[in-house]
C-alpha cells in the first residue's frame, strides 16, 4: 500500500498496516506502544484532515479490512458492525429491512463507521433524530496498550457501568481504536422529499423565521450560498434553501403545502421538489461539507444556536473580505451550524491569505474548527479554535488512556 495515501501534513508514515481483525489491531497498537512508535488510525480518509497534524507519526493503521457485519437482528432494531464498514454498507443493509441510522456522513461510500464516530461527525438531521452518539449502544475498542475493552451492549437502554462509548465518539483516535460499534436503528420514513428554492434578495430573514415556525418540522433545513456544483440548482441572491421532508406520505404532502405557503409569505416564489432522487440529492449536499476546490480552499464548522447564525456568517464574511477570499456558506436553520468554505482563484494566493484569515478569525470566530484544509497548509492553521475550560481534564484523560502518547499525539485539542 502506498505510503503517500497516508501522508499527513508533510509526514509520511514509515509503515502502513492493514489489520483484518480486532485482535490484530490490538496487537499492532501494543507493538507500537512498546516500541515508542506513534500510530494514526485511518478509515475512509474522508475526514482525515480533522484536527492538527500529529507531532509524531510512524505507523498508519488502515482499518478498512475490519468490515464485517457482526450481528443484525432487524426485529430488535439493532446492528453491530466492525469499524471499517463503510457508512454506505450500513445504509444499504438497514434499508433492505426498512431501517436507518441518521449518521449523515459525507461521502458515505468511502466513509467508515469507525471514522464517522471517531470524528464526532454532526449531521443536519440531528435536530430531528439525535446525534450519532445517541445511536451508539455499545463499542469494543483496542486501547494503546493492546487491551480490548467493551462498553455498553446490544440493548437499546443501558446504564450498566460508565458509558465509555461517549468518550470514544469524537476522540479522533487519540484515546482508543474503535473496533466495533453497535447501533440502535430507526424505521425508515416511507417518503423523502427535497425542496429546493432560490431565495430572492431580502427574503432570507423571513424565510428562516417562517421555517422555524412550521408546524410540521423538516428533517433538515439548510440555506446554501455558493457550492453551485454540489447543489445543482440556481441560487438566488440570498442563497438557496435546501429542505428535507421525511415521514409518511400524508405528512410529507401536508408539510409540502405548509412549506409552499410559508415560502410564499417570505417572498420566495419558486420551489422545486425532488422526490425519487431526494436521497441522492441530499447526499450531494452532505458531500459539500468536505468538498474542496483542490488546494485553494478550506472549510470551517462553527457550532452555535439557531438564533445566532447570522452574526457568525457576517463575521466569516468580514474576515473573508479583508483577506480577499471567496466565502461560501451552509447555514443550518435547525441546528445552528454554519459551514464556511473559503477559497481563492490561485493556489499561491490562497496559501498566504488562508493563514492570515485563520489568524484573524481567532478573535471573531474563536470557536470555529477546521473541517478540511490543504494538507500542506494544515501545520500553520489553528484546527481547533479556542480550547474549552475542560482542557486540563482532557489532558489527564489522555494520560490515563494513552500514557505513552501512541495514538496520534498532537492531533487533538490543545496539542493532546
Amino acid at each position: 500500500m502506498s505510503a503517500k495515501l497516508y501522508a499527513l501534513g508533510t509526514h509520511l508514515p514509515g509503515d502502513v498496516e492493514t489489520p483484518a481483525t480486532l485482535a490484530e489491531l490490538a496487537a499492532l497498537l501494543r507493538a507500537c506502544n512498546e516500541t515508542g512508535r506513534a500510530a494514526v488510525l485511518f478509515g475512509g480518509r474522508t475526514l482525515q484532515g480533522l484536527g492538527a497534524v500529529p507531532k509524531r507519526y510512524d505507523v498508519a493503521i488502515d482499518c478498512t479490512r475490519l468490515d464485517r457485519v457482526i450481528e443484525h437482528e432487524p426485529r430488535d432494531l439493532t446492528i453491530a458492525l466492525e469499524a471499517g464498514c463503510r457508512v454506505a454498507t450500513l445504509d444499504a443493509v438497514l434499508a433492505a429491512c426498512g431501517q436507518f441510522v441518521p449518521l449523515d456522513a459525507p461521502r458515505a461510500a468511502a466513509a467508515t463507521i469507525g471514522g464517522t464516530l471517531a470524528s464526532g461527525w454532526l449531521g443536519p438531521r440531528r435536530a430531528t433524530y439525535g446525534r450519532a452518539r445517541d445511536f451508539v449502544i455499545g463499542t469494543i475498542v483496542a486501547l494503546a496498550d493492546g487491551t480490548i475493552a467493551k462498553a455498553g451492549g446490544m440493548v437499546v437502554k443501558n446504564v450498566t457501568g460508565y458509558d465509555l462509548s461517549k468518550l470514544y465518539v469524537g476522540s479522533l483516535g487519540t484515546l482508543a481504536a474503535i473496533g466495533q460499534a453497535n447501533f440502535k436503528t430507526l424505521p425508515l420514513p416511507s417518503v423523502r422529499r427535497l425542496a429546493v428554492a432560490p431565495l430572492p434578495e431580502g427574503s432570507r430573514a423571513r424565510t428562516t423565521a417562517n421555517i422555524a415556525a412550521l408546524a410540521t418540522e423538516p428533517a433538515a433545513a439548510l440555506i446554501v450560498t455558493g457550492f453551485a456544483k454540489e447543489i445543482d440548482a440556481p441560487s438566488g441572491v440570498d442563497g438557496c434553501l435546501v429542505l428535507l421532508l421525511e415521514g409518511s406520505e400524508r405528512t410529507v404532502d401536508a408539510a409540502t403545502r405548509e412549506l409552499r405557503s410559508a415560502l410564499g409569505a417570505a417572498g420566495v416564489p419558486q420551489t422545486r421538489l425532488i422526490d425519487r432522487e431526494a436521497g441522492f440529492a441530499f447526499a450531494r449536499v452532505l458531500d459539500a461539507y468536505v468538498e474542496t476546490l483542490g488546494s485553494r480552499s478550506m472549510t470551517y464548522r462553527s457550532l452555535g444556536l439557531p438564533s445566532d447564525t447570522t452574526p457568525r456568517i457576517d463575521a466569516f464574511a468580514r474576515v473573508a473580505r479583508a483577506n480577499r477570499l471567496t466565502l461560501e456558506t451552509i447555514e443550518d436553520v435547525r441546528t445552528g451550524d454554519v459551514i464556511a468554505r473559503l477559497s481563492a482563484r490561485l493556489v499561491a494566493d490562497f496559501a498566504t491569505r488562508a493563514k492570515l484569515f485563520d489568524g484573524e478569525r481567532r478573535t471573531a470566530l474563536a470557536e470555529a474548527r477546521i473541517l478540511v484544509a490543504p494538507e500542506k497548509l494544515r501545520a500553520g492553521l489553528d484546527a481547533w479554535g479556542a480550547p474549552p475550560a475542560s482542557l486540563p481534564l482532557m489532558r489527564t484523560l489522555k494520560s490515563r488512556f494513552d500514557p505513552n502518547g501512541t495514538l496520534a499525539p498532537g492531533r487533538y485539542v490543545g496539542g493532546i
Partner: protein, 475 residues
C-alpha cells in the same frame, strides 16, 4: 470518624454554608441515611448548599478531612446510589431548585439540579415544549439525579434517556473547581460521560437541557391479553414492524389490580396483562399507527382494545401506570424491583424465565415494564421480617439478572448500578472492561472521594459493608 474530627468537619461546613445549610443532629441525619433502595449508616453531616460555590466549598472541606461525598437529589433512586454506605458527607442538591432560563426559540432550558423533573415540562408547556425523559418518579425526582443516573422512563422508548437530552452541564470536580462543559465543546465528551456516572466523577450543579416540541396529536390505548407473554409478543411485533409508538408499557394482573385498587383508571382487571400504547405526532400518522397496532394486537390474541377518548382519560391511565410501584407498596409488605434489559425480541422468553424463577423461590412477582425498550421491572413481593423470604428475594434477584444476561441483555436499563448491583457488574463486564472504566474514574477522581462504594465491585467482599438490603415498602 473520631468525634473531635467530626466536630471540626461540621464546624467548617457550618462556617461555609451557614447554620441553615448543614444538618448534624442524628434525628435530622436519619433522613439522609437512605434512599428508595435501602438504608445504611448516618452520615457525619448533611450539607444543603444553595449554589455551585457552596458545593465547591463542601467538596474542599470534605476532601481535606478525607471524608467521602455522596450527592443526593430527591432520594428516589432504587439502587442505593445516594446511600452513604461508609458515612461521610451527604450533599443534598434539593435547595438548588431554580429554572435558570428557558429559551423557547432554541428549545434549551438551564436548570439547577434540584428542579423537579415534571416542573420543567410544566414551565415549558406555555411555549409548546416539554422535557422528554419522564421517569415514573417525575413528580418528585430531581433533574440532577435524573442526569446522574441517566434516567429514562416510559418515553425513553421514543425520545431516549437523559444522555440524549443533557447538552451541557456545570460540575464541581474533586479539587472543588467549577467547570461548564457542553456537547459542542471541542474535545472529549465530558458531558456525555458525566451523565450516568452516578455521582462518582463530580457533582452536577447546573444542567443545560434540550426541550422537545409538544406533539400535535396523542392517542393512548389499552389492549388486554391473557398473559404477559402474549402482550410481550405483541410489543415485539410492533417494534419489528417499525410502527412509531411513543410508549409501549406492560402491566401484569398483579400490578393492574394494585393500580386499580388505588387509581380506578379503568384498566381491565380480569386480563392476565395489559399493554398501554401511546402514539404521538402528526394527526393522520397517529390514527394510522393506532390502526396498525390494533391489528397487530388482534393477531397476538388481544382480548379487548380500548382507546382513551379524552385527555383526562389519557392522563388517568398514565398516572396509574406511573404510580404502579407505589400502588403495589400499599398492598405488599415489601417488594424488590429490578431493571434488567434484554433485546426486544427476547422479551417473551425473559418474562417466562422471570416467572419460573419466582415460582422456584416461592415468591409472588408483579411485572410492570417499559416493553418497547426491552426494559423489565419485575417486582418480587416479600416480607422482610421473614428471613427465608429475604434470602429468597436476594437469590431470585440474582437469578433474574443472570437469566437476562444469558438472553443477551444487561443488568440495568435506567435505574443504575449504585450500591445494589455493584457486585453483579462482573457478570456483564470483563476485568479489562472494568479496568478501562476505572481509567475514566481515575482521571476525574483519583482519590475516590465521590460516592466511593458505588458501581464498581468491592473486590474483597466485606461483610460489614454489605449490610444494606432491599427494604422498599413505599416508592
Amino acid at each position: 470518624m473520631l468525634t473531635v474530627a467530626a466536630d471540626r468537619l461540621r464546624d467548617e461546613l457550618t462556617l461555609a454554608l451557614g447554620p441553615g445549610g448543614v444538618l448534624t443532629a442524628p434525628e435530622d441525619l436519619a433522613a439522609y441515611a437512605f434512599d428508595a433502595y435501602s438504608d445504611a449508616r448516618l452520615p457525619v453531616a448533611a450539607a444543603l448548599p444553595r449554589d455551585a460555590h457552596e458545593v465547591a466549598a463542601v467538596v474542599r472541606i470534605a476532601r481535606a478531612h478525607g471524608e467521602p461525598i455522596v450527592a443526593r437529589g430527591a432520594g428516589t433512586g432504587l439502587c442505593g446510589g445516594a446511600v452513604p454506605v461508609t458515612g461521610g458527607v451527604v450533599l443534598s442538591l434539593a435547595r438548588m431548585n431554580r429554572i435558570l432560563s428557558l429559551d423557547a426559540r432554541n428549545r434549551i432550558a438551564r436548570v439547577q439540579p434540584g428542579v423537579i423533573n415534571l416542573d420543567l415540562s410544566r414551565a415549558a408547556a406555555p411555549d409548546g415544549l416539554f422535557f422528554g425523559p419522564d421517569p415514573s418518579s417525575q413528580r418528585i425526582s430531581m433533574l440532577g439525579g435524573n442526569a446522574a443516573t441517566n434516567a429514562g422512563g416510559p418515553h425513553a422508548f421514543a425520545y431516549g434517556s437523559m444522555s440524549a437530552h443533557v447538552i451541557g452541564l456545570e460540575f464541581v470536580d474533586e479539587a472543588g473547581d467549577i467547570t461548564w462543559v457542553t456537547i459542542d465543546d471541542a474535545g472529549y465528551d465530558i458531558t456525555g460521560v458525566l451523565v450516568g456516572s452516578e455521582g462518582t466523577l463530580g457533582i452536577l450543579t447546573a444542567l443545560e437541557l434540550r426541550l422537545l416540541r409538544t406533539p400535535r396529536a396523542v392517542r393512548v390505548c389499552v389492549a388486554a391479553f391473557d398473559g404477559v407473554e402474549a402482550a410481550s409478543e405483541c410489543v415485539s411485533s410492533i417494534v419489528a414492524a417499525g410502527i412509531a409508538a411513543t410508549a409501549l408499557e406492560i402491566m401484569d394482573r398483579t400490578i393492574v389490580r394494585a393500580v386499580e385498587a388505588h387509581y380506578r383508571a379503568g384498566y381491565p382487571q380480569e386480563a392476565g396483562a395489559v399493554l398501554l400504547v401511546e402514539v404521538a405526532g402528526e394527526s393522520p400518522d397517529v390514527e394510522a399507527s393506532e390502526r396498525a397496532i390494533a391489528a397487530l394486537a388482534r393477531d397476538c390474541g388481544t382480548l379487548a382494545w380500548r382507546s382513551a377518548s379524552s385527555a383526562r382519560e389519557r392522563e388517568a391511565l398514565w398516572a396509574a401506570r406511573k404510580g404502579a410501584a407505589g400502588a403495589l407498596g400499599r398492598i405488599a409488605p415489601n417488594y424488590y424491583i429490578q431493571d434488567a434489559t434484554v433485546p426486544r425480541t427476547r422479551l417473551p422468553q425473559a418474562i417466562a424465565r422471570v416467572e419460573a424463577i419466582a415460582r422456584e423461590h416461592r415468591l409472588p412477582v408483579g411485572n410492570v415494564f417499559h416493553a418497547g425498550d426491552g426494559n423489565l421491572h419485575p417486582l418480587l413481593i416479600f416480607d422482610r421480617r421473614e428471613q427465608r423470604q429475604l434470602d429468597a428475594v436476594v437469590a431470585a434477584g440474582h437469578d433474574i439478572l443472570a437469566a437476562c444476561i444469558d438472553l443477551g441483555g444487561t443488568i440495568s436499563g435506567e435505574h443504575g448500578i449504585g450500591y445494589e448491583k455493584r457486585e453483579t457488574l462482573p457478570l456483564v463486564f470483563s476485568a479489562d472492561d472494568i479496568a478501562t472504566m476505572e481509567r475514566l474514574r481515575g482521571a476525574f477522581d483519583p482519590a475516590r472521594g465521590f460516592n466511593p462504594d458505588k458501581i464498581f465491585p468491592s473486590g474483597a467482599v466485606c461483610g460489614e459493608v454489605r449490610t444494606p438490603s432491599p427494604t422498599l415498602s413505599h416508592a
